[in-house]
């Protein structure tokens, strides 16, 4: 259960407002009939996630979210859609109503599983409120010592993806 003491009111209000924006944005992503507008609503959702990380005092993750998702992934999304379907206006085929029959149950199932898992694992346990400033050195120390093997594995996966992209893109 969520304890009631030690609540930072400003943070909670901020969380609520940003969460509401994210929910509206997420619904607009799937209901919008204009593919570029849908992509831009997705930017709102991702920027909201970055703002939530900031509220949790996770500066580095928030900045990474902006750099990777907004600065790179979404720009590539938009670049691709604008390059291939540059028409301004709505696309009636875009809003796939039949997908809702599968999509909504899957989303609810995911929500249920995550909520159950989080509540079951942590129960009344709460992360301590830290007043010490966030330290990037500690983060990099843990990545390059404690989590070195996962880091290498991830780098290897990314390298494979890069090589795959080159193989796919090369014509000769």
């Amino acid at each position: 259960m969520i304890a009631v003491e030690n609540i930072n009111v400003g943070q909670q209000v901020g969380f609520g407002i940003i969460a509401l924006m994210m929910i509206v944005g997420a619904i607009r992503v799937v209901t919008n009939k204009n593919v570029v507008h849908a992509a831009l609503w997705l930017v709102v959702v991702l920027a909201g996630a970055a703002a939530q990380y900031l509220l949790l005092a996770a500066e580095f993750v928030a900045v990474t979210q902006v750099l990777v998702y907004i600065g790179a992934v979404m720009v590539l999304f938009l670049f691709g859609t604008m390059l291939t379907r540059s028409k301004v206006g709505n696309d009636e085929n875009l809003d796939n109503r039949n997908g809702a029959m599968i999509g909504i149950p899957v989303a609810l199932l995911l929500l249920g599983t995550l909520t159950y898992g989080l509540l079951k694992t942590y129960k009344a346990e709460r992360l301590p409120l830290k007043n010490t400033p966030f330290n990037i050195q500690q983060l990099s120390d843990s990545i390059f010592s404690h989590y070195l093997l996962p880091f290498w594995a991830l780098s290897f996966v990314l390298l494979a993806a890069v090589i795959g992209a080159i193989v796919l893109a090369r014509r000769d």
Binding site: N34, V36, H37, L40, V43, E59, F60, V63, T64, V66, L67, I70, G71, A72, M74, V75, L76, L78, F79, M82, L83, S86, V88, G89, P133, F134, N135, I136, Q137
Partner: protein, 347 residues
Amino acid sequence: MLATLPYWGVSLIRILGGIVAVLLPAGSIVYIFLFKMMSFMQSRLGPMEAGPYGSMQLFAEVGKWLQKEDLAPDGADKRLFKMAPLIVLASTFLLVAVVPFGPDAWFTNFEAGVFYALAVSSVSVLGILMAGWSSANKYSLMGGLRAAGQLIAYELPMVLAVIGVVIQAGTMNLQQIVVKQNNDKIFGLHFLGNPYILTQFVGFIVFMIAVQAELTQTPFDMPIAESELVSGYMTEYSGFRFLIFFIGEFATAGVFALIASALFLGGWGVPFSWFGWHNIGDVANWMNVVGPLIMFVKMMIVVFLIMWVRFSFPRFREDQLQRFAWKVLIPIALANIMLTAILKVAF
């Protein structure tokens, strides 16, 4: 002085300071470099009528743009079309938030400052893509796509060039990077501090080239190449929305120059050994006034370099531009990182 004010007072001063730190450099750059320096390089006088030596020309231009009708093309996606310039300008305001101007004269003392600056500078690409697409114009769209390809390509060498500085300083906080540069010694000499332009000269060159491309200044101005694309993603804009793009362009030049001077030229500080300071706590209070002036002078010097290149060189071709980023700048920047890391461990 700041310590005696309430929190909201300090915040208000910081917000006003941020607006000044964006608009004042933009105005000075446009007048001194775009109006006067370019004219002198072309053996003409430039604007001379409005005010002494045409110094009020800028206000006349702003007044002219503000009077114009807020036009949008018939086939355009009106909402996105109107939003796009604001996103570009917002990215500039987000960018200035991490620049330190003095021991207490900062907007946010952000631990991941450098990283944050590089991240939010890429937000402007979204605005440019929106502008290009929503104009419903082939030239605009091509300009937008070119801009996106160019900004993504040159963001990498910029990030990689900065990593050398981060390795040497051991921190990502711009304030601490400035303090480190003024507090360190080079070859055992204390009187100069250690501005990283001396030790990271390769990084500085790569950073400045990448900044030139990020700002789409002339050797890299394919997104708005007037002989091919009319005016690229800005083709359909007029009135105050064009003004916002225009301010955004030169304000971003100013802010990138501020970041470059904080990273490579010692920022707001003077070498601390001159006054017998040892850390940021010793720095005298008058540096909060002198610091911004030092930053302004350094910014003007860096912008002078950018504009000098802009007015001197012809435009690259699109494929040359991409090849230059991926095959020249990125390998150099990577080699610089490796060398810096080796030297950092060795010394």
